[in-house]
C-alpha cells in the first residue's frame, strides 16, 4: 500500500507537469513548423538576382551606361536582396534547430506521460486462439492478393512501356504494305547499282553509242553545283543526286526527261549533326554515298553521318545523325530501302553497324553491332531463294542479315585489306572481291559455303557484277576479267588503258564499264571478249551510271549527263 501511495503521489505531481510541457512544446512545434513552412516558401519564391526592380534598373543602366548613381542603386539593391535571401536561409536553419529541440521536449513529455499512466494488459479478456488461424488465412489471402496486384502491375507496366518504346522508335517495323513491289522496283534505279544493288538493269534498248564532246546522243547535260562521288538514282520521271562540301550538304532533284532542276534540298541543322565536319580525302569527299528512294521519299547520307529524308516534292520530312563516322577517307557506303526500312551500313574504325530506320518517321528500328572493321562497301538486298537477305562486305567477314530484324543469317570469313567493292549476286551465289585479298564465290542457302576463289584480277573500288553464267570484275589498273560464275573458270581477260572506280553495270546483254577518264567500254556478255564500242563522256567520272527510262544517266566530275537515242 505504501508503494502504491508513493506511486500515486509521483503521478499526481509529475503527470500535469509532463502534460503541460507536452502542450506547450507541441504548440511551439506547430508554430515553428508553420513559420518554417512560410519561410521556406518565401525562399523558394525569391530570386534575388532576378528581382523585377533589379532587372528594371539593369535595363536602365544599359541605356545610361555612365550613370554612377544608378550603379550605386543597383549595388545597394543587390546587396539588400542577397542579404534578405541569406537571412531567410539563416532563419530556416535556426528554425530547424529550434524545431528539433522542441520536438525532443514534446516527445519526452509524451513518453513520460505514457510511462506514468502505464496500464496492465486486460487479463480478463480471454485470448481468442480459435480466431488466430482464421487471421492467418485472411493474411494469406491478402498476401496472395497483394502479390497478384504487384505482378499484374509489373506486367501492365511492361506492356505500356513496350508500347511507349514502340512509339518512341525502338519497336518492330510497321506492317502496312505501302512499299513498292520488286517488279516495280526493277523498273527503276532506286539506289546505288540499281534494283537490289547488284548492278543489273532490267531494261532493254539501252544506248550503246554516244559521244560527250560532240554531244552525240547526249539528251541533256547540266552542271552539279556541289561536288560528290555519289551516283544518280532514278524513280519515274525524277532523278536524284547528292553533293556536299565542307560548307553544306545538298540533294538535287532533276526532271529525268529534261534535266531541269525541280528542287534542291539542304541537309543542314539536323539534330545531332557534328559541329565540325570530319576530315575526308579528295577522292572520297563528303557526298560519296549514293542516295536511295522508295518512290515516295528520298534519302541521303553524308560523310558526317547526317541522314535526311525528303518527299519527292522536296519537303524535308525528317533528319538525324547516325553518329559521326570515324573514317580516314570518308564515309561512302550507300543507302538501301527494304519495304519501310532504310538500311545503312556504318562500318568505321570503331567497328561495324547495320542500322535500320523507319522510312516515314526516321525512328530507329534496329542498330546491330557487326564484328567487322572499317569498310567502304554498300549493302546488296537479294532474294536468295526462300528469303530476302541484306549482304554486307567488310573485313574480315561477308555477312548476311534478315533485313527486317537485322538478325544475322550467315557469315563467311574471307576478306582482308580495305574493302570498297560491294558484293554481287546471281542465282544463289554471292561474289566478293578486294585487292590484296581474293575473289570469292559463296554459295548461299540456309548456310553459306565457299564455292570457289581466285587470286588475280582483283578490284580495288569497282564492284563486280554477275549473271547466272558470267561474273565480271573491273580493276583499278584497267584489267577486266570474265569468269564462269558457277565454277570460277576464266573466260577472258582484257586490259584497258585506264582503271575503273565506277562499278560495271549490265543491261540488254551488255556490260558497261566506265573508266576513270569517263570512257565507257561496252562489252557483249559471252565466253569471248567482244567489245561493242567505247563511248567518251568528255570528262572524268567515277560514279556508277544509272539506267532507267531506256536512258543512261552518268555523273561526271562536273556535269550530270543523260544519254539516250
Amino acid at each position: 500500500m505504501e508503494i502504491e501511495t508513493t506511486q500515486s503521489k509521483t503521478v499526481r505531481l509529475w503527470y500535469p507537469i509532463a502534460r503541460n510541457s507536452a502542450v506547450i512544446s507541441g504548440a511551439f512545434v506547430l508554430l515553428l513548423s508553420a513559420l518554417i513552412l512560410v519561410n521556406y516558401m518565401q525562399v523558394q519564391s525569391v530570386d534575388p538576382l532576378n528581382s523585377e526592380a533589379l532587372t528594371r534598373l539593369m535595363q536602365q543602366l544599359r541605356e545610361e551606361p555612365g550613370n554612377e548613381d544608378l550603379k550605386e542603386q543597383i549595388r545597394a539593391l543587390d546587396l539588400l536582396a542577397r542579404r534578405a535571401y541569406f537571412t531567410h536561409q539563416w532563419q530556416l536553419r535556426t528554425g530547424s534547430y529550434l524545431l528539433f529541440g522542441s520536438m525532443l521536449v514534446f516527445l519526452v513529455a509524451l513518453k513520460y506521460m505514457g510511462s506514468l499512466r502505464s496500464q496492465l494488459p486486460d487479463l480478463t479478456r480471454e485470448p481468442d486462439r480459435a480466431a488466430a488461424w482464421e487471421e492467418r488465412i485472411l493474411a494469406r489471402k491478402w498476401v496472395l492478393f497483394s502479390g497478384l496486384v504487384l505482378f499484374v502491375m509489373a506486367f501492365v507496366l511492361s506492356v505500356v512501356s513496350e508500347k511507349n518504346a514502340s512509339s518512341a522508335g525502338t519497336a518492330a517495323p510497321a506492317t502496312n504494305p505501302t512499299y513498292a513491289s520488286l517488279e516495280e522496283i526493277r523498273q527503276q534505279w532506286p539506289n546505288f547499282r540499281g534494283p537490289e544493288g547488284i548492278g543489273i538493269a532490267y531494261q532493254t534498248d539501252v544506248p550503246t553509242s554516244w559521244d560527250g564532246p560532240s554531244g552525240e546522243n547526249i539528251l541533256w547535260k547540266v552542271p552539279v553545283s556541289k561536288p560528290g562521288f555519289s551516283s544518280p538514282i532514278v524513280w519515274g520521271e525524277r532523278l536524284f543526286l547528292s553533293g556536299a562540301d565542307k560548307g553544306s550538304q545538298e540533294v538535287y532533284c532533276y526532271e529525268a526527261e529534261s534535266g531541269d532542276l525541280l528542287w534542291q534540298g539542304q541537309a543542314d541543322d539536323l539534330p545531332g549533326s557534328p559541329s565540325k565536319r570530319p576530315n575526308v580525302t579528295d577522292d572520297t569527299g563528303y557526298a560519296a554515298p549514293t542516295m536511295a528512294t522508295d518512290g515516295q521519299r528520298v534519302f541521303a547520307i553524308f560523310a558526317t553521318g547526317d541522314l535526311a529524308c525528303w518527299d519527292i516534292d522536296g519537303n524535308r520530312l525528317w533528319g538525324k545523325n547516325l553518329g559521326l563516322p570515324d573514317n580516314h577517307y570518308g564515309h561512302s557506303s550507300s543507302l538501301m530501302v527494304y519495304r519501310n526500312l532504310l538500311l545503312a551500313q556504318l562500318d568505321d574504325n570503331r567497328g561495324g553497324r547495320l542500322v535500320a530506320v523507319d522510312v516515314e518517321s526516321g525512328k530507329l528500328v534496329y542498330d546491330k553491332t557487326r564484328e567487322v572493321q572499317i569498310s567502304w562497301a554498300s549493302p546488296i538486298l537479294v532474294n536468295t531463294g526462300s528469303r530476302m537477305e541484306v549482304i554486307l562486305n567488310a573485313i574480315p567477314l561477308v555477312v548476311s542479315y534478315d533485313p527486317l530484324t537485322g538478325n544475322e543469317l550467315w557469315r563467311v570469313d574471307c576478306m582482308m585489306g580495305e574493302v570498297a567493292p560491294s558484293p554481287a549476286y546471281a542465282d544463289g551465289m554471292v561474289f566478293v572481291v578486294n585487292e590484296y585479298a581474293r575473289l570469292a564465290a559463296i554459295r548461299v542457302g540456309e548456310t553459306a559455303e565457299m564455292a570457289w576463289e581466285f587470286d588475280d584480277y582483283l578490284a580495288e573500288v569497282a564492284s563486280p557484277v554477275a549473271t547466272d553464267e558470267y561474273l565480271i570484275v573491273a580493276t583499278s589498273y584497267g584489267g577486266v576479267a570474265c569468269f564462269d560464275s558457277k565454277t570460277g573458270e576464266e573466260f577472258w581477260l582484257h586490259d584497258f588503258d585506264e582503271g575503273f572506280y565506277s562499278s560495271p553495270v549490265m543491261a540488254g546483254g551488255f556490260v558497261y564499264l566506265m573508266d576513270m577518264k569517263g570512257l565507257t567500254h561496252i562489252v557483249r556478255l559471252g565466253r569471248e571478249f567482244q567489245l561493242v564500242g567505247s563511248c567518251a563522256l568528255g570528262e572524268q567520272a567515277v560514279a556508277t551510271p544509272a539506267i532507267a527510262n531506256r536512258r543512261m544517266y552518268i555523273r561526271g566530275t562536273e556535269h550530270l549527263f543523260c544519254i539516250g537515242q
Partner: protein, 438 residues
C-alpha cells in the same frame, strides 16, 4: 545493487567515448582553393570524406556499440541501457557522422563492388555492412535495437503504438524485399544508390534535405508515433538480411529469463508485433484442405518463380531508363529522330564532348541487357519471397509459451520488464508474488 553498478558502467563508457568524439574531427581531403576574396563558401550538404584514422575509430565504435547492445539486450536485459546507447548512436552515427556510411546503404556499395571489379570499396564500408550481420548471427538484431541511426530516430518517437492487423503487417512485410531487390539491381547496374537517395531520415541528421525528403521523413516520424518504426519494419532493405541472420542466430533475447508461465502480462508489450502467442490448444480447421493447399503452393512455387522472373524481365526496359546513360541515349535518339525539338543540358554536354552517338547507344544497349537479366533475377527472387510467405502462412507449427519471433524482434528490451520472472531476477519482487496462471 544492479542500478548503481549500471550507472558506473555507463559513466565509464561515456568517459571512454569522450576522447573518441573529440578526436574525430572532420577534415577535407583536399584544401579549398583560396581566391583571396570575401566570398563565404557554403557548407557542404554531404559529409566530408573520412580520414583513415577516423574510419578505424568508426569501426571500433561500431563494434563497441554492437557489443554493448548485445550485452544490454541479452545479459543485462535493460531497456534503459539500450535506450541510452540508442541516444549515443543517434549522436555518433547520426548527427556526428551524418549517417554516412550506414550499414543500410552499404548494401549498395557491396553489390556494386561485386559486379565492378574496378571499384575499390573501402574496408570500412565492407565492415559496416558485414559486422552488424555477424553480430545478428550470434545475438539477434541488436544492431536495430540501439545502433542503427535510422532505427533509433524512429524508436524515440514511439508514443502509443497500435497493433496492426495480421494481414496488413504480413502484406507490408513484403515491401522490404521489393526495395532490396530494386536497390541491388540499381546498384549493380550503376543506375544509382536509391537507398541513400530516398533515405527519409538523413536530412534530419545533416540538417539539410530537400523539402520533399523532409516531408517524407516527417511523415515517417509522425506515423511512427502510432506504428512503431514503420521504416524498419516495412521498408528497410537491410532488415531483410538481418531478419535472415536473426532467424539463424545462435542466441537471442527472450521475453522471460526463466520459464514462461503464460501469465499474458507481456502480450501487449511489443510495439513491433514480434511476440508469438502460444497455440497449444489451437486446432486447424479444415486440416485436409489446408494440407492440399500447402501441397499446391509448394508445387506452384517454381512456376511462380519462373513467371515472376519473366514478368520482371520485361520491365528491363523501363527500369533501364532510370540509368543516366540509358536516359541520355534515349534523349539523343529522340533528338536524332526529330522527336524532340529542344535539346537538354545533358544532350548538349554529350555532343560537345565529341563522343560518337553509336558508342553511347552501344553502352545503353549493354545496360538494357543487364537490366533484362537483372529483371529476371529480381522477379524470380520476389516470386520466391511471395511463394515462401504463402507456404509459411499455411504451415502450422505448435508453440508453447510466449515466444519472440526471431526474425521480427528488434531486441529493444521493452518486453523484459513485463515478465514477472524478470522482476524476480532483478529482485524487484519475490517468486511468491508471481501471478499464478489461471
Amino acid at each position: 545493487m544492479t542500478g548503481p553498478i549500471f550507472r558506473q558502467r555507463w559513466l565509464l563508457f561515456l568517459v571512454f567515448l569522450l576522447p573518441v568524439l573529440c578526436s574525430a574531427q572532420t577534415v577535407e581531403r583536399f584544401p579549398k582553393p583560396d581566391f583571396q576574396t570575401d566570398y563565404t563558401r557554403p557548407d557542404l550538404t554531404t559529409p566530408f570524406p573520412r580520414t583513415e584514422v577516423q574510419e578505424i575509430i568508426d569501426i571500433v565504435v561500431l563494434i563497441g556499440a554492437l557489443s554493448l547492445a548485445s550485452y544490454f539486450a541479452l545479459r543485462l536485459r535493460s531497456r534503459k541501457a539500450v535506450f541510452v546507447l540508442m541516444l549515443f548512436s543517434m549522436a555518433y552515427f547520426g548527427f556526428y557522422r551524418e549517417g554516412c556510411v550506414c550499414s543500410v546503404g552499404a548494401i549498395q556499395n557491396v553489390s556494386y563492388a561485386l559486379f565492378h571489379p574496378g571499384y575499390a570499396i573501402p574496408v570500412s564500408v565492407v565492415l559496416f555492412f558485414a559486422v552488424p550481420l555477424l553480430f545478428t548471427l550470434f545475438f539477434g538484431r541488436t544492431f536495430c535495437a540501439a545502433v542503427c541511426p535510422l532505427g533509433t530516430i524512429q524508436d524515440i518517437v514511439v508514443i502509443k503504438p497500435v497493433k496492426l492487423p495480421l494481414w496488413l503487417s504480413h502484406c507490408l512485410s513484403l515491401l522490404p524485399y521489393v526495395y532490396l531487390g530494386l536497390a541491388v539491381l540499381f546498384a549493380t547496374t550503376g543506375a544509382g544508390f536509391i537507398i541513400c537517395q530516398y533515405d527519409p531520415f538523413i536530412g534530419f541528421y545533416r540538417f539539410s534535405a530537400s523539402f520533399h525528403m523532409v516531408l517524407l521523413g516527417l511523415s515517417f516520424l509522425v506515423l511512427g508515433t502510432v506504428v512503431a518504426r514503420p521504416y524498419c519494419r516495412f521498408l528497410c532493405p537491410y532488415g531483410v538480411l538481418l531478419d535472415w541472420m536473426s532467424r539463424l542466430s545462435k542466441t537471442h533475447a527472450t521475453i522471460t529469463p526463466d520459464l514462461c508461465s503464460e501469465c499474458r502480462l507481456c502480450e501487449d508489450s511489443c510495439p513491433f508485433d514480434a511476440i508469438r502467442l502460444p497455440d497449444e490448444s489451437q486446432v486447424v480447421p479444415h486440416k485436409t484442405r489446408e494440407v492440399k493447399r500447402l501441397a499446391i503452393f509448394i508445387v506452384l512455387l517454381p512456376l511462380l518463380v519462373a513467371g515472376s522472373g519473366w514478368i520482371f524481365s520485361r520491365l528491363g526496359d523501363p527500369l533501364a531508363g532510370q540509368h543516366a546513360t540509358v536516359a541520355l541515349a534515349r534523349e539523343i535518339q529522340a533528338e536524332n529522330a526529330g522527336l524532340r525539338t529542344e535539346t537538354t543540358e545533358n544532350s548538349r554536354t554529350f555532343r560537345a564532348a565529341g563522343k560518337p552517338d553509336s558508342d553511347l547507344f552501344l553502352e545503353a544497349e549493354a545496360l538494357q541487357r543487364q537490366f533484362t537479366t537483372g529483371g529476371w533475377i529480381l522477379g524470380a527472387f520476389l516470386g520466391l519471397v511471395f511463394g515462401v510467405k504463402l507456404i509459411q502462412l499455411t504451415l502450422h507449427r505448435k508453440q508453447t509459451g510466449y515466444e519472440i519471433d526471431r526474425g521480427v524482434c528488434l531486441s529493444c528490451a521493452r518486453c523484459f520488464a513485463h515478465c514477472p520472472y524478470e522482476l524476480v531476477r532483478r529482485g524487484e519482487i519475490s517468486l511468491e508474488e508471481v501471478p499464478e496462471v489461471q
